[in-house]
């Protein structure tokens, strides 16, 4: 770029340039003045904007199905071309569960939320542990893959409450479970505060919930807690 050009752009950007051609300087200043006025006028309108565009956008996304689960009939779901693997896995899970819980002298906990989140944590142990929970139910392996790929779990963990699940997180739903010592709900609360999901974002609160959850042995929570410390997002 030639010197005159450089000086012209520098003056346009509002910098003081010494020793430049006065005519070029004047031109640049006049152009700056015209563009500045124009930009101020536009910015005035932008700042007056409210959130209605955001709400309209979310509404449109819901309308086109981006924020809604596709609902299929159970027959469609069952015979979906990719479902043979899931069917096989569920069948194998059933066999495994039957084998494990054939005896009646094992005390079974009814609707014990903690077991559900343990599906994610216990996935480190054994082949079956990667795919099924203690009851032999198919749990999938998404969380495990994500943990291995990023070192962090950034998705909510399913719990027994529909108000504290990956598809429907609510502070009330998660708090109710978390206060009863459910580490999955505690993890979800940590995630909500870390990401600012439906709550005001706070790394401190996120840290507290991750700490509680990891104290109950929740591995993803301890990874996320360490992440906050390592990245100096909270003061230790």
């Amino acid at each position: 770029m030639k010197k005159n050009e450089e000086n012209w752009f520098a003056t346009l950007a509002g910098e003081k340039v010494y020793g430049m051609n006065p005519k070029i300087r004047l031109q640049a200043r006049l152009v700056r003045s015209v563009f500045k006025k124009r930009a101020e006028e536009i910015n005035k309108n932008i700042n007056q904007d409210d959130d209605y565009l955001e709400e309209k956008l979310i509404h449109e996304l819901e309308k086109i199905g981006f924020l809604k689960k596709q609902s299929k009939s159970w027959l469609e779901k069952l015979f979906d071309k990719n479902n043979w693997l899931i069917l096989l896995a569920i069948g194998a899970g059933g066999v495994y569960a039957t084998k494990e819980y054939m005896r009646s002298d094992v005390i079974q906990l009814v609707d014990q939320p903690q077991l559900i989140e343990e599906q994610v944590v216990r996935s480190k142990t054994g082949f079956w542990g990667n795919w099924f929970d203690a009851q032999g139910g198919f749990t999938g392996f998404w969380s495990r893959i994500q943990l291995e790929k990023t070192g962090r779990l950034e998705e909510p963990i399913p719990t027994s409450s529909t108000q504290c699940s990956p598809d429907n997180l609510s502070i009330k739903g998660c708090l109710a479970l978390a206060n009863n010592g459910n580490s999955a709900a505690q993890f979800n609360l940590g995630l909500m505060y870390e990401k600012g999901l439906k709550v005001e974002q706070s790394y401190e609160k996120a840290f507290e919930w991750y700490k509680k959850s990891s104290a109950l042995g929740n591995k993803p929570a301890s990874i996320n807690r360490d992440y906050l410390i390592d990245n100096e997002l909270i003061l230790q």
């Binding site: 770029m1 050009e5 012209w8 752009f9 346009l12 950007a13 509002g14 006065p22 005519k23 004047l26 031109q27 006049l30 152009v31 700056r32 003045s33 015209v34 563009f35 500045k36 124009r38 930009a39 536009i42 910015n43 309108n45 932008i46 904007d49 565009l53 955001e54 309209k56 956008l57 979310i58 449109e60 996304l61 086109i64 981006f66 924020l67 809604k68 689960k69 998404w142 950034e154 998705e155 909510p156 990956p166 598809d167 429907n168 997180l169 990401k195 600012g196 999901l197 439906k198």
Partner: protein
């Protein structure tokens, strides 16, 4: 929140995180896109319409972005293409697509006559820039970005050219603008 973090949210399986991503990208890009579209002479209502279309495309196609580092320039590519689609849709913008349709000298000759009547220098420059914006809106946006102290790197992301090509484009922009404002400062040597 950085764009790369927002991309993660948009690519998530969780509906809650996706919604969060949608809101975040709207907050992040809306003011920038509004500035961009308004600079390209769209009125407020038109700008909002184009912003909505751009954001919907960005959000729903975000899962096709494989490299998070390229997400920003990809967003601007979508924004530009949506703008050009808008120009094609409405005939009143037929000159906006190809800025080189009109030769400089034709316009300069026309506005020189008008400028002769004007004694105020700023008014004269204003008239020149108005014509420049009409004839070369892409280049007018370059001047705007330079005035806002954008680096060539940042400009290259917005206009979708390589850094070297952007430097050349910026330099050419100066040369293209010159004839539009040249006579306004005569007598100041």
């Amino acid at each position: 929140m950085e764009l790369e973090d927002i991309l993660k949210l948009l690519q998530s399986e969780s509906l809650v995180l996706r919604e969060k991503g949608g809101r975040e990208i709207c907050k992040k890009l809306k003011p920038q896109l509004m500035g961009y579209y308004r600079q390209r002479r769209l009125n407020k209502v038109e700008s909002e319409e184009v912003i909505m279309t751009s954001l919907l495309k960005i959000i729903t196609k975000a899962n096709t972005v494989e490299e998070p580092k390229k997400f920003k320039s990809w967003c601007w590519q979508v924004a530009r293409n949506t703008l050009y689609d808008h120009f094609r849709k409405y005939k009143k913008y037929k000159n906006e697509i190809n800025e080189e349709v009109l030769e400089n000298f034709e316009i300069v000759a026309r506005i020189t006559q008008e400028k002769e009547k004007i004694t105020d220098k700023e008014e004269c420059v204003q008239l020149g820039i108005k014509e420049f914006e009409k004839a070369m809106p892409d280049r007018a946006y370059i001047i705007h970005m330079k005035m806002e102290k954008f680096t060539n790197q940042k400009i290259s992301e917005r206009i979708g050219k390589s850094l070297a090509a952007t430097k050349e484009y910026v330099s050419q922009t100066y040369k293209k603008l010159k004839p539009f404002i040249e006579n306004c400062t005569e007598g100041d040597d």
